[in-house]
Subunit: 346 residues, 2 copies
């Protein structure tokens, strides 16, 4: 075949450093029993010949298997569904790379049940966990316990900053809210009126933060627009439809609608019931089949989202890195806030 430039191996390294393979091995794996001077000699040789450990061969020899769990809320969320399918898709590829990924459902709204599930995880058969759960003291304690048992833990989508989690994979909700506000304000340039804000529950950290970021920008930059208090549907589609209808009926000047969380289907139904939807600027979060179709139909003007594929792959990369004790390459793991309009819908 073709001539290949051979990449330096431990053998080359041993020769270059003038030591034996065993010593090279001891240095590379930071095993004891090597004089400081010899360590330096080997490290210098690494630099000189540009040795890079072949992690795949290493994992092979080490018989390394990664066992990861991804904990996702159950219940009827379009967003979680897309996340779940991203996990399913990723786990196929991961399996070929010596990682087993299992998805663990948790009851959505009961902090104790969440904590119970987390505490029930068999830490002996796991190397790392990615958790999407609202931050509560119970969850925080459960995470700390998992960390205490030596697992790698990343918070997914929604951060658990008070806990010991190794990393947060997701977007900054304040910035997401600010982004939504800028688009809302600019799309309504020159207009005066009210903005309807809806969400599933303002208990959720995300909603609070998004709302906070949204309000800050609206107050600062678009004072002509009046942002109404949040309407909460509490997982009740009927309630969402009703409240939206009522709000539209009682205020004549609702120019825009900001949907901070799930419940986009009943929201859109409610809006449709109140006449021409294309008149108002509608901005929603999370790309799902519903929001995608609404974008295509012109019912939603912009979607603020995060790429679920990246989310999952990033979480798994971070877990791996943590297990290997390797540095995390942060820029690659930073999830971007995606703005999607009809024209850049891929």
């Amino acid at each position: 075949m073709k001539a290949a430039i051979p990449k330096p191996t431990v053998h080359d390294l041993a020769r270059e450093a003038g030591v034996s393979l065993a010593t090279v091995d001891r240095v590379l794996n930071e095993r004891p029993g090597v004089r400081e001077k010899t360590v330096e000699r080997v490290k210098a040789a690494v630099e000189r010949i540009g040795y890079v450990r072949d992690t795949h061969a290493a994992n092979l020899a080490r018989r390394r298997q990664y066992r990861f769990a991804i904990v996702l809320p159950e219940g009827p969320s379009q967003f979680v569904d897309t996340l779940r399918s991203a996990v399913r898709e990723a786990s196929g590829a991961q399996f070929a790379e010596r990682a087993l990924v299992e998805t663990i459902p948790i009851p959505s709204h009961d902090p104790h049940a969440v904590a119970r599930t987390l505490n029930g995880l068999n830490t002996a058969r796991l190397d790392g966990v990615a958790i999407m759960a609202p931050e509560t003291p119970q969850v925080r304690d459960a995470v700390d316990r998992l960390k205490g048992e030596g697992l790698a833990v990343v918070a997914l989508v929604s951060d658990l900053p008070s806990s010991d989690r190794d990393f947060f994979v997701g977007i900054n909700s304040f910035a997401a809210g600010r982004t939504a506000a800028v688009l809302m304000g600019r799309f309504l340039r020159g207009l005066t009126g009210r903005i309807l804000v809806v969400t599933n529950t303002m208990q959720a950290r995300d909603s609070i933060e998004r709302r906070f970021g949204f309000d800050a920008v609206m107050a600062d930059e678009f004072p002509a627009l009046d942002v109404l208090p949040s309407i909460e549907s509490h997982d009740d589609p009927e309630r969402m439809r009703r409240c939206v209808g009522e709000a539209l009926a009682s205020y004549g000047d609702i120019r825009g609608v900001y949907s901070m969380g799930s419940g986009n289907t009943p929201l859109l139904e409610g809006l449709r019931g109140a006449g021409d939807l294309t008149d108002r600027v509608v901005i929603a979060h999370e790309m799902t089949p519903v929001t995608r179709q609404a974008l295509l139909d012109g019912e939603v003007d912009a979607v603020i989202t995060q790429n679920v594929g990246h989310l999952v792959r990033s979480a798994l990369r971070v877990l791996r890195a943590r297990c290997d004790g390797v540095e995390i390459f942060e820029p690659q793991e930073r999830i971007r806030i995606d703005i999607v309009i009809r024209e850049n819908l891929t």
Copy 2:
């Protein structure tokens, strides 16, 4: 350590199928000399025990080394600079994964020189090439020659559809132009006036396509805005400054500026010279240090871009897949059109 669920190996597979390792190997690697019935038996066993080939071990045994070249235009382009540094960054990681990546500069504007460089590539020491070059007959022929020599070839950033290239990694320029237009039109809601369009050269395929997409949307959806003919700087910063200044002076009602290509620095200088920049909506392409700073300063309102890190990683993944004769997982390689405003600048 921890108990690991062992993943099935070829040995397990051989036992399960009731054949020898040699036969399993022949089936897995599609080598001849196995009866159809036996092939089926092995494949059934694969399904039954869920065998997945360990790609890393396979590559190790295969002694596979990938040698890729990334061909980028030289010359003072901020975008190419960011691309180049993304390549540098990626090649570190790639090296650990048995791929050598070298960057090859080509003279920007001479199709013959480009073709000469491509034809001068030592195909014997390369497995694949990613090429960013304007589409010309010479380049097309050179690409076809590379393909003929058995290399994998992907077009990067700018497509070479008339050639034999395996894949295009980049964004749809029409859609990018349409996206810019929607933002421009909506940010200027209710206003009447003119839009200035600037680029380096309208010779470039990207510029033509972006302009096309931009115009289509502007004419369709925002007829109150009048889009002026493109100003071309032809790589001359001074000319860009001058032309922009002149245009602003001769028309009093320029509401927005659309920068389709490079030359953002002199463009911004020209705009600054003509008074309050924040009055006008400025939309530019490609995230670079200049556009980033301009976003932060409020001089640019939105940047339409593509993530260079993804671009490079995607190109390399595709090259690998092509070399291995493996299917490309398209959704992962589809580069998104990113809309960046100050608020979602990560």
